[in-house]
């Protein structure tokens, strides 16, 4: 019982570390597109691990936890894609370090 609680707490902690790194990325990245990149990846694995840690502690919740994880896994990339696409459509400015933009050339 004790060991399971410790394992669950560690998994949740690792998840929160990933979310913390993603948040630092949001502050440090130079433009919108790079920010959404760090946001998508870190929040997906971070949320999955945080919720999974709770599932390990309360084993009878594991079914619901799996549904939650699948839901996050399927919807998170879609929402990031839609936000990035909308941003590109209204021509949100890119960082000066950007070296190529094929989509801009395509829509010209």
């Amino acid at each position: 019982m004790e060991i399971i609680e410790i394992i669950g707490a560690v998994v949740t902690l690792i998840g929160s570390v990933f979310i913390l790194l993603g948040s630092i990325g949001l502050v440090r990245m130079p433009d919108f597109y790079n920010r959404i990149q760090t946001g998508t990846k870190a929040s997906t694995l971070g949320t999955m691990l945080s919720v999974l840690g709770i599932g390990i502690i309360h084993l009878d919740w594991i079914g619901k936890i799996v549904i939650l994880i699948l839901f996050v896994l399927m919807t998170n990339p879609i929402s990031s894609h839609v936000i990035a696409r909308a941003a590109h459509n209204i021509k949100v400015k890119q960082s000066s370090r950007t070296i190529v933009d094929k989509l801009e050339e395509e829509t010209k």
Partner: protein
Amino acid sequence: MKTKSIIVSFTVFITTWFIYNNTLDLIVLGTGVVLSAMAALLFCRNCDVFCEFNFSLSAIFYTIIYWFVFLGELVKSNFDVARRVLTPSLPINPGIVEVKTKLKSKMARLILANSISLTPGTLTVDIKDDTMFIHWIDVQHEDIEGATQAIVSKFENYLIKIYG
């Protein structure tokens, strides 16, 4: 074709309902059956996305392999983000590149685009037929062939075997 779509979506809905409620109570299960059937009949009648599932043995085998490949990439992408964020010089080289996919099925393209969004340093910005526009945080190949090889091919090989 439509029947398969309704059956698959009904199975997904009722399984979700069953796991979520976690009970064998007949009233709860009956409500779930009615609601799942209504949702499946109303919303999945005209959508052909669920028809593309393939339940052959090799497809299931490759789906399991795909999950492991994908989860490995997801973990790798998080360490990649961590490394970039914590390096003081912020090693990024961003740009939007164009890649081509050989996949025909809608479901396979959806899964491919989602997987690309969750792999190291890439994000799907737009899809036009078989062309995808990918925001790449560290552009290594500006040409279509090189970018396709680097981003798409690791997933495409498995998805072609699953969805044909």
